[in-house]
């Protein structure tokens, strides 16, 4: 593709792991430029760029930054970088952190300067030991070089940045769950309001942004919002985007495309469905996104189009499933995931995810009833929209799409009293 790689430009360039190597590619120029700008001007620029959160919800980043109260100069403010990438199918942030740690540090630093936060925590999931080590090394270099610490790049701006390792909990990717976890508690999401922008980490205003979102920031600062806006489908879907494609494709991996590429183009870039098989279904945005059938192959992969099609772009983690895949088993696996990862505090999610997993397992084991499809839909309806955080909504996405888009497969399971697809011992 004739598309310039922006976020992943240093992937494969092991030189960029060091500060000197990163500087050679123009690194930290954006931070230097930012430090000469008014903080509010940076927020305006990011707002103008139309950058939307790359973590899943797609909330405009500049807007988020502008919510941080600035009245009290003595108030502590925090940036928490969400590097708790746990959404099944998602592995783009790991790539960014392991290959270009300074890009993330630079993005975090610019964000901190813009919202006047003096402390940044990079909350990285505990399993990413390599990425954590890479980041730690990069942070050390940045401190030694005066990029972090008292007086960032010889300015009056003071910034401390730390890596905080999680310990294995998907729910800590939810922003308030992450804050709780950062504070040393169980990662149980908080009730909102108050929102983190007002009462966040340690009771102070806090911005929480995804790794990929923050990695976009240096490029917006150095090349301008208009350049950023020139990439993408429309005003609301701008910029380069990492698409992680996995499952039954020839060349799974992370691909950088302008936002709004069609799924067919993406699939072609990844070598198409493997072994020459036919596409059956795909998940466009990580495990939480409702599954789309093969007929949606020409969908534009941006936030709004995917939402209109009854799914979500989420983290743009695409899982491709070929014709041999049992949808019931796949959804049951996702239901098991959500049941395992539900924090257990709110009723619909705790009980509902468990119940859905039990029903789906029963179906897969050939003990389904005719009423199960309706039951699944009803239980999913009681979970979705009623839970404390978004995990409940996420958990019902795949289930609802199974009932609505693949009713024949459920019927086949019930009718034949077994799974019509090849069996495995493990579930």
């Amino acid at each position: 593709m004739a598309f310039e790689r922006v976020l992943t430009r240093n992937v494969g360039n092991s030189d960029a792991l060091t500060l000197r190597g990163y500087r050679k590619t123009g690194g930290y120029d954006a931070l230097e430029k930012a430090l000469r700008m008014e903080p509010d001007a940076i927020i305006e620029e990011v707002k103008k760029s139309g950058l939307r959160g790359r973590g899943g919800a797609g909330f405009p980043a500049g807007m988020k930054w502008s919510f941080i109260p600035q009245k009290d100069p003595n108030q502590a403010r925090y940036l928490v970088c969400n590097a708790d990438e746990s959404e099944p199918g998602t592995f783009k942030d790991r790539l960014l952190m392991e290959n270009d740690p300074h890009q993330l540090i630079e993005g975090c630093a610019i964000c901190c300067y813009a919202v006047r936060a003096e402390t940044c925590y990079i909350y990285i999931r505990g399993e990413y030991t390599k990425a954590a080590a890479v980041l730690e090394r990069a942070l050390k270099e940045a401190y030694e070089d005066g990029i972090l610490g008292d007086g960032v790049m010889k300015s009056k701006f003071k910034l401390n940045m730390y890596v905080h390792r999680g310990a294995g909990a998907y729910i800590c990717g939810e922003e308030t769950g992450m804050l709780e976890s950062l504070e040393g508690k169980r990662g149980q999401p908080r009730v909102k309001p108050p929102f983190p922008a007002v009462v966040g980490a340690f009771g102070s205003p806090t911005v929480i942004n995804n790794v990929e979102t923050l990695c976009n920031v240096p490029h917006i600062v150095s090349r301008g919002a208009d350049w950023f806006k020139s990439i993408g489908t429309d005003e609301r879907n701008t910029g380069p985007k990492l698409y992680a494609i996995s499952g039954h494709v020839e060349r799974p991996g992370t691909y950088e495309h302008p936002i709004g590429i069609t799924f067919r183009e993406m699939l072609d870039a990844a070598g198409g469905v493997w072994r020459g098989r036919n596409l059956k279904a795909f998940i466009p945005g990580g495990a939480s996104a409702p599954i789309l059938p093969a007929s949606s192959i020409d969908i534009k992969m941006d936030f709004d189009t995917v939402a209109k099609a009854g799914s979500m772009l989420g983290s743009a983690a695409v899982i491709v499933m070929d014709e041999t895949v049992c949808m019931v088993r796949s959804v049951a696996r996702l239901a098991k995931f959500f049941n395992h990862e539900s924090c257990g505090q709110c009723t619909p999610c705790r009980e509902g995810t468990n119940w859905m997993e039990l029903i789906l397992k029963r179906l897969e084991h050939g003990e389904g009833r005719e009423s199960d499809a309706a039951l699944l839909k009803s239980v999913a309806g009681n979970v979705g929209g009623n839970s404390l955080c978004a995990l409940g909504d996420a958990a019902v996405g795949p289930v609802k799409s199974l009932v609505e888009r693949f009713p024949d497969e459920i019927d086949a399971h019930v009718r034949e009293r077994r799974c019509p697809f090849p069996q495995y011992r493990y579930f």
Binding site: I171, V191, S342, G344, Q345, T347, P348, R350, E351, W355
Partner: protein, 577 residues
């Protein structure tokens, strides 16, 4: 002050009030499990989902009433099909994994699940082909000496966890594991043994936490519940006496934000057990006057009162008459006893109390710490039993009969219980046979027995009562009316929860009867009448009225009564006329 409507009823509430509390103000009950007014808001149970519109625009999702502060112009609805559907859904979620063991569950009858499934649930189950989640081996875990956990019944509302962290501040309980396997419990090897531990049973909306003391004692729907005051210490926790036909099964805290808030201590809850374990004095007993060696014989009330009257009249010339009070006396009883002592003309009055361990009952002002194991030492002293009170009240028209002793030389409780005061007494009237531990010590009984005549009133047939020349059976505090004054000088009323046994009268009646023997003008009295006389005569009680005394009590006009006082109270004992 935001003004909003809830189901079309308009309500104005202080800023920050949540929708559940706002609803209560206008009689709209928003069902909830995890929300408790004194615990942090966690929004977990999702039972309180409501529909909110603002400016005619409906919010896309239902909102939790507990975590949504009332906002100006909000239109809240709890009766739309969406809300009903959500409530039904939540009830289903609560019940799918809840055991159907109501017939053997202590909570049945006061169970949040039962109540809400009746109101908001459905009568059938769609959870037919799956197995209920169980916690094998965690069906009857003693969390501590007072609380037993049945994890199968838990609905994970975490009220108990938050209680131990936020109210008791001891943090024994925690929320463990996650997802459908979340459970509550203590760290291995730790016990839930804080002095307030049983409160977690009260706030548990289901039968997961049950009280060791109350476990299997009675079906709650058979219990009669009457408001009362705890006699465990001088905090004066407001309680509900719960009994079946006079057999007390438990005390539960009764909400009073000024005193004990929603809480009470484990010791207080155990105090009713005295009424069952200590033998009861059931009839009047009078010993043959000719010899103290003779055994006391059961008599009727008339003979007994006659005997006391005669003894007080005759023997008071032979030596001192002393009144040994009790911190368990009500204000009314103490006042009448004081008047009786006035008539007899004796300064020898005192109120012994056992010092307490000092449990702190948390409330919004920080908490009250009891220091005495009796509820009313202050009231009893103030109203007539303080040592050295010699001034006779001329208005009572009692015959003046001074025994000529100096006030400083009064025979007080130290003298009686630890010294040899009793041997100087011609008559010693002990107003409560259960005034403290000393009533059960053979040594103390022997000391008190040195009085020529020993008259004992009381509900307990304690060794002291057994040693008495005249023993008069009177009601326990659950069988009579009265008021206590707590350590903050708050007068709190209680009423009989059930009648006293036959042959047992209230101390007020007995003292009124005695007073009438000296002066018929006294006539029949009830606690209420006595209280109103106290209110008329004692400035500290001015303006109070038995009938209108609020359920949460009233502060007395005493210096420092509004302030929190733990033991500085002694220094500011008010002078009464």
């Amino acid at each position: 002050m935001p003004k909003l409507t809830i189901n079309d009823r308009t309500v104005e509430v202080p800023p920050g009030t949540n929708l559940i509390d706002a609803g209560i103000k206008v009689g709209v009950q928003i069902p909830h499990y995890c929300y408790h007014p004194r615990l942090s808001v966690v929004g977990q149970c999702r039972m309180c989902l409501v529909e909110i519109s603002q400016g005619g625009k409906k919010m896309p999702k239902l909102q939790a009433g507990c975590s949504t502060p009332a906002g100006e112009g909000m239109e809240v609805r709890t009766d739309t099909p969406e809300v009903r559907e959500a409530q039904k859904g939540m009830m289903e979620f609560f019940l799918i994994n809840h055991p159907l063991d109501c017939p053997i569950c202590d909570q049945a009858g006061e169970c949040g699940l039962q109540d809400y499934s009746f109101k908001h649930g459905v009568a059938y189950s769609r959870f037919q082909y799956e197995d209920k989640r169980t916690y094998p081996g965690r069906e009857r875990i003693p969390l501590g000496p007072n609380v037993i956990l049945n994890m199968n019944r838990c609905i994970q509302c975490t009220r108990c966890v938050r209680f131990t962290h936020e109210i008791a501040k001891t943090g024994e309980l925690g929320f463990f594991n996650r997802g459908a396997r979340t459970e509550i419990g203590t760290f291995p090897g730790r016990e839930l043994d804080n002095p307030l531990s049983t409160c977690v049973v009260d706030i548990c909306p289901v039968g997961a936490l049950t009280s060791t003391r109350f476990r299997f004692a009675e079906r709650v729907f058979y219990l009669d519940k009457k408001p009362s005051i705890c006699t465990g210490c001088d905090v004066g926790c407001n309680i509900t006496v719960e009994h079946r036909r006079g057999d007390i099964k438990r005390y539960k805290p009764r909400f009073n934000p000024e005193v004990n808030d929603y809480w009470m201590c484990d010791y207080g809850r155990s105090t009713f057990e005295r009424y069952k374990t200590v033998p009861r004095l059931r009839t009047c007993r009078v010993r043959d006057e000719n010899g103290t060696n003779g055994s006391a014989t059961a008599t009727g009330w008339k003979e007994a009162i006659d005997a006391v009257h005669r003894l007080l009249r005759q023997r008071s010339a032979e030596g001192a008459v002393a009144f040994l009070g009790s911190g368990f006396l009500t204000n009314e009883e103490a006042w009448l006893a004081g008047r009786l002592a006035d008539i007899v003309g004796t300064p020898h009055r005192s109120v012994p109390v056992d010092p307490g361990a000092g449990w702190t009952i948390p409330n919004l002002k920080g908490g009250l710490t009891g220091g005495e194991l009796a509820p009313n030492r202050r009231g009893a002293e103030m109203l007539g039993l303080r040592p050295g009170l010699t001034e006779l009240d001329e208005t009572l028209g009692a015959p003046k009969k001074s025994n000529g002793k100096e006030a400083a030389d009064t025979i007080d409780h130290d003298e009686l219980l630890l010294g040899d005061g009793a041997s100087r007494c011609a008559v010693l009237v002990v107003l409560d046979s259960d005034f403290g531990k000393a009533a059960y010590s053979p040594e103390t009984v022997e000391r008190l027995r040195r009085a020529k005549t020993l008259i004992v009133l009381g509900w307990a047939d304690s060794p002291l009562a057994k040693a008495a020349d005249v023993a008069l059976p009177v009601a326990t505090h659950t069988e009579k009316d009265g008021t206590f004054v707590n350590l903050e000088w708050r007068a709190q009323r209680f009423n009989a929860a059930f009648p006293a046994p036959a042959q047992v009268r209230s101390t007020v009646e007995v003292l009124a009867d005695l007073l009438s023997r000296f002066d018929p003008a006294w006539g029949d009295l009830t606690a209420g009448k006595v209280f109103d006389r106290i209110a008329a005569e004692v400035p500290a009680f001015a303006g109070l009225q038995w009938r209108t005394l609020p359920a949460t009590g009233a502060s007395l006009h005493v210096p420092g009564s509004e302030a929190m006082m733990s033991d500085t109270a002694a220094q500011s004992v008010p002078e009464i006329s």
